[in-house]
C-alpha cells in the first residue's frame, strides 16, 4: 500500500499539469499581496468605513494576519478548481492513456488502487495548502508585519490578539484541507465514470459552481438545503476567527464563538469524503475496464 502510494505520488509529481496549481496559487497570492501592498489602505478604509465613523482605529491594521485572511477568503473559493484538475483526472486520465488496464492486470486489488490514488490526491491537496499557507501566511507576515487581527465580519468586528491568531490559522488550514479533500473526493469519484479527464473535470467544476451559487444565494427556498451542500460548509474555517465574549462583552482569548458549528461543518465534510470514497470503491470494484 505504501509502495502504491509512493508510485501514485511519483506519477502526480512527474506531470507538468500538477505544477499549474502551484503556479496559479503563487501567482494569485502574489497578485493579492502586491495589490494590498500598493493600495491596501484604500481597501482598509472601505472596510472600516462604518467603524471609522465612531472610532479612531490605530495600529498595523493591514498586517500579515489580515492579509492572509483576505487571501484565504478570496482564494479558497477557487482552489477547488485547481484540486479538481488533478483529482478528476486520477482514474479517467489513466483510462484515457490506457495505463489503467495495465495497472489493473498487476496483482493489486482495486480497493488498494482506489485508496492509494485517493491518498495521493489527499497528499497533493495538503501540499498545495501547505504551499499556500507558506505564501499567504508566512510571506504576508514577512511583508506586512504582525499585529492584532481585525476580522471585519458583516455584522460585527472581532479583534484577535496577535498572540491568539496563529493557532487559528493552523486550525483553519486543517479545516480547509478537509474542505479541499471533499472536492478531491468528488472529482475522484466522477473520474471513475469516464475514459477521458475532461468530462469529470468539467462535471466537478460545474457541481462546485452550482453549489457555490446556491450557497451564496439568500433565497429562502434554497436555505433549507444549504446546510447539506459541501460548499456551504467549506467556509467553515472562518469560524475559527470569531470569539466568544464574557458578560462584560470582552472577547475571551483562545475561544471560538461556535465550536459546535465548526465541528458540524467538519462532520458534514467528513461524511461527504467517506461517502464518496466508499462509493468510489464500490463502483470501481464493479466496473468493467474497457478502455
Amino acid at each position: 500500500m505504501w509502495q502504491l502510494l509512493q508510485i501514485e505520488l511519483f506519477k502526480i509529481f512527474k506531470r507538468p499539469r500538477t505544477y499549474i496549481s502551484f503556479g496559479a496559487v503563487a501567482a494569485l497570492v502574489g497578485i493579492i499581496q502586491l495589490g494590498l501592498k500598493l493600495d491596501g489602505n484604500m481597501y482598509i478604509e472601505f472596510m472600516l468605513r462604518d467603524l471609522s465613523a465612531s472610532f479612531n482605529i490605530e495600529g498595523n491594521i493591514l498586517n500579515g494576519y489580515l492579509v492572509c485572511y483576505i487571501i484565504l477568503q478570496l482564494l479558497l473559493v477557487h482552489v477547488p478548481l485547481l484540486i479538481t484538475l488533478i483529482a478528476a483526472d486520477l482514474i479517467s486520465g489513466e483510462a484515457n492513456m490506457g495505463t489503467l488496464r495495465l495497472l489493473l492486470t498487476k496483482p493489486i486489488s482495486r480497493t488498494e488502487i482506489i485508496l492509494a490514488k485517493f491518498f495521493a490526491a489527499g497528499v497533493y491537496t495538503f501540499m498545495l495548502l501547505i504551499f499556500m499557507a507558506v505564501l499567504a501566511l508566512f510571506l504576508s507576515m514577512a511583508i506586512f508585519g504582525t499585529d492584532d487581527m481585525l476580522n471585519l465580519k458583516s455584522g460585527y468586528v472581532v479583534q484577535l490578539k496577535s498572540t491568539d491568531v496563529f493557532w487559528r490559522y493552523v486550525c483553519a488550514f486543517c479545516f480547509a484541507a478537509l474542505a479541499m479533500l471533499t472536492v478531491a473526493s468528488l472529482g475522484f469519484f466522477l473520474s471513475i465514470f469516464a475514459d477521458n479527464s475532461i468530462g469529470p473535470i468539467v462535471a466537478t467544476m460545474s457541481i462546485i459552481v452550482v453549489f457555490t451559487i446556491l450557497s451564496t444565494l439568500d433565497i429562502p427556498i434554497f436555505n433549507a438545503i444549504k446546510p447539506f451542500l459541501f460548499t456551504t460548509q467549506m467556509i467553515g474555517w472562518k469560524g475559527f476567527f470569531d470569539v466568544k465574549v464574557n458578560d462584560d462583552n470582552q472577547a475571551i482569548i483562545g475561544s471560538i464563538q461556535n465550536p459546535d458549528r465548526v465541528l458540524k461543518a467538519a462532520g458534514i465534510l467528513v461524511f461527504y469524503i467517506v461517502g464518496l470514497l466508499v462509493a468510489s470503491i464500490v463502483v470501481f470494484k464493479k466496473k468493467d475496464i474497457l478502455s
Partner: protein, 312 residues
Amino acid sequence: MHPVINVTNLSKHFKDLIAVDSLSFTVNEGDVYGFLGQNGAGKSTTIRMLLSLVKPTQGKIEMFGMDLFTHQKEILKQTGAIIEKSDVYKYLTAFENIQLFSKVSGAGKLSKSQLLDQLAIVGLQDRAFSKVKTFSQGMKQRLGIAIALTHDPKLILLDEPTNGLDPQGIADVRNLILQLSKEHNKTVLVSSHLLSEIQLIANRFLIINKGKKLVEGNASQLFDPAETLVELETLDNENAMIKLQQSVWSSKLQARREKTIVLKMNKTEIPAFHQSIVHMEIPVMSFRPKHSLEDYFLQLTTINDDVATIAN
C-alpha cells in the same frame, strides 16, 4: 500436461449485446495458444475476463488450478499481459515505467541493472532514459512486453500484440513469442487478426465468432487432410451448383457464395473431383484447394451462415 487456463461456459453480456457466449477452452502448460476471431468476435473481452478487468456474467475461470475470482492476486502474480496496444506513461521514461510497474507486479525489488537487462531483451537499452512520448509505436510495444515480463510470469496473455507494428516489428514480436515459449518455457495465449502470424507460432488454436466457439484444436487437427476445403469459381455458379448437387459430390458441398462454391473433402479426393467437374462440363474459372489457417478461418467464420443457405 497441466491446464494453465481452464475456462468453462464463460459468458459476458453488455446490456443487450452478448459479447462472449458460453465459451469453454483449455490452455495447457507450454502452449502457444492462438486465439482467433474477427474484430468484435469477443477475443478482447475474453482476455480481459482472464485478467479480471471485466467481470463475467457467468461461467468459471480457473488458472493455475485456482479460481480467478478467489485467487486473483496469486494468479496475476504469475501472469503478464499486453492488451491491444501497449500504453504506458508517456511523460515518464522507459526506465521509470518499467521500474514503476515492476514494483506492483509482485516481482520483488529489482535492481537498476536487472531492469536495464529487461529493457535490453526488447532492445530498448539505449533509450531507457528517454521519455516514452518520443517513442515509435513499435518501441512502445516492446516496452510493453518488457513490462509484462519483469516479474518472470509463467503465463503471458497478448491481445493483438502486433497491432500497429511495421513488418519488422511484427517479426520481432513473433520471434520473441517463439523465444519465450521455446527457451523460457512460458505458456502464451496470443490473439490476433493477423492469422498468418498466428499460424507461424501457435501450436493450438481457438476460433470464435460472435462470442461463440467455432473450433478448438491443434494445428494437425485443424488442418486435417480429410477436411480440406476446395473453392470453385465458375462461369455459371447456379448451373454448376445444380450439377454438383445431382452428382456424388453433393455431400461435400459446404457453401454457396456470390462468386464461389465451397466443398470439403479429403485431400486425396481432389484429383478425382477435378476430373469429375471437367467431365460434368462445368466451366471452371478457378479451382483452389485451401490449406492455410487464414483460409480455413475465413471459411469457418462465414460458413455457418452459408450452411443455412444451402439447406434451403
